[in-house]
């Protein structure tokens, strides 16, 4: 079942540039659990695709396959870039490192010279609004600020494909909405391809250019919705009738797929 709203007006450069291409992907773990089945999904440059689905449906497994942390047991997952950002559910900051040193970590692991990675880190820190907290330790930050630091860390890679594994799931509503806005701003500015996992339907609709709905285990794609709202997005669209309607449709598909 694929319910497609009228397609979004194509961006100025219409060359389709697919960064992530899942073809007939299935995932069966060693213990026999089938997490994913028949998944066909592409993410193009300039797209922000959000996957919603019940917990345990294998959403996160999609990201793990895309990033190479796991191999699909069937089908193929092609990634057309080596600049992949991965934001985990937890901030996964190293508690003994300051914000700056945490943000520098990935460049450090890739062997970037000190001055270059320092500059990249500072730029990312400014971008996520953590300026002034460079010398703080993670334990001195709030949950939202830790997530910002985690985002900044991935941004230093200047990713073309950005994978988000329910990054804001543990945050309170207000912090989450603020970070959603920040993420959209980054998306508009950086134009990466995003694949975002969440179980919040309104977050999915608000953030993405396309929402993909997955069924319960084994996870199958049971619906796809193009989101017609323009980028950059006005936070107020959350309170419009069109937004509510789309949230309703996605929720409906989610409920159908769960049964």
């Amino acid at each position: 079942m694929t319910i497609a709203s009228p397609p979004v007006a194509p961006p100025a450069s219409t060359r389709v540039d697919t960064l992530l291409d899942f073809r007939d992907v299935a995932m069966r773990f060693a213990n026999g659990t089938v997490a994913l089945q028949d998944v066909d999904l592409t993410v193009d440059r300039g797209e922000f695709v959000t996957v919603v689905g019940p917990s345990g449906c294998g959403k996160s497994t999609l990201l793990r396959i895309a990033s190479g942390l796991e191999n699909a047991s069937h089908g193929s997952a092609e990634v057309d870039t080596d600049r992949i950002g991965y934001v985990f559910q937890d901030a996964t900051l190293l508690p003994w490192r300051t914000v700056r040193d945490n943000v520098e970590l990935l460049a450090e692991l890739n062997g970037a010279p000190k001055t270059a990675r320092r500059a990249a880190a500072q730029e990312s820190i400014d971008l996520v609004g953590l300026s002034g907290f460079e010398s703080n330790l993670p334990k001195e930050l709030s949950g939202g600020m830790r997530m910002r630091a985690s985002l900044a860390r991935s941004l230093t890679l200047d990713p073309e494909l950005f994978l988000f594994d329910e990054p804001f799931g543990a945050l309170d509503e207000i912090t989450r909405e603020r970070l959603n806005d920040e993420l959209l701003r980054l998306f508009v500015e950086k134009r990466f391809a995003g694949l975002f996992i969440t179980h919040s339907v309104s977050e999915a609709v608000y953030l993405s250019t396309r929402v993909v709905v997955m069924s319960g285990r084994p996870g199958r794609i049971v619906g796809e919705f193009d989101v017609p709202f323009d980028m950059p997005r006005d936070p107020e669209i959350r309170f419009t009738a069109e937004f509510a309607e789309l949230v309703g449709e996605v929720s409906h598909a989610l409920r159908e797929g769960h049964n």
């Binding site: 990033s67 991965y86 190293l94 003994w96 330790l137 993670p138």
Partner: protein, 292 residues
Amino acid sequence: MAVDTRVSRTEPAATTATRLSGPKPPRRTASPRATRIRNIVLPIAVFFVLIGVGYAIAAYYDQVRGLPFLVPYPHLVVQALLFDGDFRPDLLEALGNTTLIAVIGLAIAIVIGMAWAVLMVQASWIESALFPYAVVLQCIPILALVPLIGSLFGYEMPSRIIVTVMFALFPMVSNTLFGLQSVDKGQRELFQLQGASRLTLLTKLRFPAALPSIFIGLRNSAGLSVIGAIVADQFFQRGDGGLGVLISVMNQRLNGAEMFAAIVVASVLGVVVFVAFGWLRRLAIGRWYSAN
């Protein structure tokens, strides 16, 4: 030994819940200053009580049993400890020897223990193969090995060091292993995604993450190395003796005051080591890690 290196998340929902759950009973916690004073005054009070008990027991042995050398009066112990010019060189030499054995034994235990743990964390089959021996090591009654160690390595310093290492090794192995394994999965995958080598993973992630646990092991091992050095003295009495030898000798000569003075010095050495490693731990990781 609950070591949690994960960053705790703030949970606003929980705080609200507690705030709404009605008025709390008035807290009976004293002010920090009062607590500090109490933490100093009370142990001192107990100290005086113990001194009193010491006098009572000494008086009993002196007056009732007629064995004054068995339990000396505390002031005689203090005299032997601080003002006995003839005894002092012996005491200091013994302290020096014991400290030397303990330090060498501890250093060896740290190196072997951490290497052992690092090796085990490389692959689960290595851990399966080697961990049982860490447990066996701890279960061996060292007393049973004394004749063997003695005939293989003699009755002097090398054997004392071996016994000290055997005492101090297990906490280093188990705590380092626990620490190295307690690394958060997400953090490990973060490194994996960048293609980090095993060595990088060890030096930049596993080892720093294990430090809180390693310091627990260090403190336990350091305390045990002092105990080990003194116990080893009692078995291997040849060569330059330490506090353990001094204690036995003074006991045999019925020099109660000197014997107790040596016991006090041994105890102080243990306490100093304990405090020193606590201080070292705060210095090394106190900035980012606080055990609740």
